[in-house]
Point group: none
């Protein structure tokens, strides 16, 4: 089992301007491969601080992951520290130069001199190419310890981890016989405490499998994990506990692989060769946005409308003015007419809709903030379901979108009739 220290460089972390999500990401990934995170150190863009963090980390761990301070401007000092710490100098790296040049060519911008400088890399480093930005990463070995330096921009760092570093670490973990296995069961539509009650006597249920519940506005993730030198044992135990959990709460588990419900729905729609369209009021485009995050979603997503005004509900969806007048825009009837309207107008199999009061304003005596109707319409069935969420606008949008996608999933799978 190898120990890891993660060093996050950047004043913005210390002063609380940036939350250190990079360290969480790296910690999660390395844990899942079978490494043990000993410590996370966040320091500013200060040479002495960086050098002393490197030294301390080398003393207490085998692998050191460093992010931040590799940008082209004056406040980025990590590369200079590398030269000092590893007693090396800079060499021109042709591939990196070409890569950076291409980045600017694609953007149709002349390449500034400070970016050209980024093609000079520490002699002792193996370069980790950056798919999304100019700064290369470095993989450096010293006295049996290994250092990975990556940019602090999250998606640049993540691409380096996924494409280059993690595959090597997985290989390393296999050789070390440190076997970590985990399985995540993604649930939605049920609170953590209700889930827990449904499971019953968890001590006997889980045995020696480590089980963690991770709630968020999208649902509760249940993580089962085992770390031992016995791979088959880990797998067998996790499988057993998963089976027991599924026996009790299977309908709430929408995936054991994919967190984002829109990907699950995309798969089902492609399998069933069905097309959908969505009419959003209170979610304001969030559902369409999530659906279109899936590559290839144009195959099954025909269109969406964000009918924020009453006029647009009438014009684009054929909602009857009387319905809005009599029951209000936030009502079961309006939700159903919206779902029907988008289905008929866009010639798809399923139309669905959202209408609600997201806050902070808009509440009336009988319609509080958080009141939401989700409408559904296919050629056999039409209905709307009522929800009562809380009073944070953004969170209400997120919860409504998640509930709407889960409702779609349940009907596509025949879980509800």
């Amino acid at each position: 089992m190898k120990n890891v220290v993660i060093i996050s460089i950047g004043d913005e972390i210390l002063i609380g301007q940036t939350i250190n999500t990079n360290a969480s990401y790296i910690g999660e990934k390395l844990t899942s491969v079978g490494f043990v995170i000993k410590r996370i150190i966040s320091i500013g863009d200060e040479k002495l601080e960086i050098l002393s963090a490197l030294k301390e980390s080398e003393e207490i761990s085998d692998l050191i992951f460093v992010t931040g301070g590799l940008g082209p401007t004056h406040d980025d000092v990590t590369r200079t520290c590398i030269l000092d710490y590893f007693k090396t100098d800079l060499v021109f790296h042709e591939e990196t130069f070409k890569r950076i040049k291409k980045l600017f060519e694609r953007r149709n911008i002349p390449m500034p001199e400070i970016n050209r400088q980024q093609a000079f890399v520490p002699r002792c480093a193996k370069v980790i190419p950056n798919d999304f930005g100019t700064a290369p990463g470095y993989d450096i070995q010293k006295n049996g310890k290994r250092f990975f330096f990556m940019p602090g921009v999250p998606h640049e760092m993540k691409a380096m981890m996924e494409n280059v570093i993690l595959p090597q670490l997985k290989e390393m973990a296999r050789e070390l016989k440190a076997f970590y296995h985990q399985k995540i069961l993604y649930t939605t539509g049920i609170p953590e405490s209700a889930l827990f009650s449904k499971l019953g006597d968890v001590k006997n249920l889980f045995e020696d499998v480590k089980v963690a519940f991770l709630p968020s506005q999208f649902g509760v993730k249940i993580r089962l994990s085992m770390l031992s030198d016995n791979e088959p044992y880990n797998l067998r135990k996790i499988e057993l506990v998963e089976k027991r959990i599924r026996e009790k709460i299977s309908e709430y588990i929408y995936s054991d692989e994919i967190q984002d419900l829109e990907f699950i729905i995309g798969k089902i729609l492609q399998e069933k060769k069905l097309k959908i369209a969505v009419a959003e009021s209170c979610t304001g485009g969030l559902i369409a946005n999530r659906i279109t995050n899936v590559p290839g979603s144009s195959e099954y997503f025909e269109r969406g409308v964000v009918t924020y005004s009453n006029q647009s509900k009438i014009e684009l969806l054929g909602v009857k003015p009387e319905t809005i007048e009599k029951y209000g825009a936030v009502s079961e009837k309006t939700a159903i007419e919206m779902a029907r309207g988008i289905r008929l107008n866009s010639h798809v199999d399923i139309g669905f809709s959202t209408t609600g009061i997201m806050g902070p304003t808009g509440a009336t005596p009988d319609k509080p903030i958080g009141l939401v109707f989700i409408g559904y319409s296919d050629s056999n069935k039409e209905f709307a379901r009522k929800f009562n969420f809380a009073d944070n606008r953004i969170r209400n949008k997120e919860r409504t979108a998640q509930a709407a996608l889960d409702l779609l999933r349940r009907y596509l799978l025949g879980l509800e009739h």
Copy 2:
């Protein structure tokens, strides 16, 4: 000037299950009072780790803030570490006992023995009462250094900071004459390096103001900060440097207060009493979603459509089939017809649109992934602007949405004609 180390205790932080927002909060608060955060250390619930982190922190700082590990269960070891580290023992603390007892009475639950144990506190500690939970905090002085121990539950920790600790620190900072000021300039539409080049000789430009560049896919934040014993000097210097920066790059700065462009645009639209509508193809609802994140956006946002299919572009926007056939759905002409269509159909002042190839599929020999057209239409002007982004689908959506909102901002402000 006093230096601070923040120690965050908890396995959940190391394995990436919890993002360390406590440290960000403490860092932000202490910075704003005039203290300097030297380092944030995250460690697990391990006695040796905690003891060595305390020792290291005492060596490099004056104030040490520790959160986590004060709960009543077996995996909470911080109090035991305190006994070891400060060579002290536990004493019964009557007030804490009463406070915990009251908490359980209020919840109508008998008080478990493990919570009664929490009324025993380190003899050397001044107790910080917990308004929301059982675990008390501790304020401990040793050799001129000061240690604050707080629970890891965010709202319990925050209440201790706000009510007890920060008032004392503010007083301390006043006595020490340590004054910190900062200003953030939010820019978009220009890469970090180009921004830097436009600024020219930054050494002379910035003088002794600390300037940091923080890039993301939404733009580059420029943070100006000063820490000195002279409050008016700080303010004057920051103002001066801000003025110099604005002289060179003013059009790229969209705010010095608010990060999210949709809030800026909302303000302008309300001031100018203009209404907008958006026709999205490649952004798939992301723009409408961002616009409707703003409370009160229904005042100026009439509707949005997500015209993912060609058919929907024709039906909902009146895009001519010949235009799509001749130039393609991703073209200048289509973008303009989309913007015009949404403007006319929804009877608003400004219509705008996005169409592009987000990837990973959909590229053709002359239309690469990342090619985007943003269309604009008001009663005087119609045009589309071409962009070349990169090849990550989600990032392309985010960059396109940001560019579209910035284009809208620029035209609303008369920056472009």
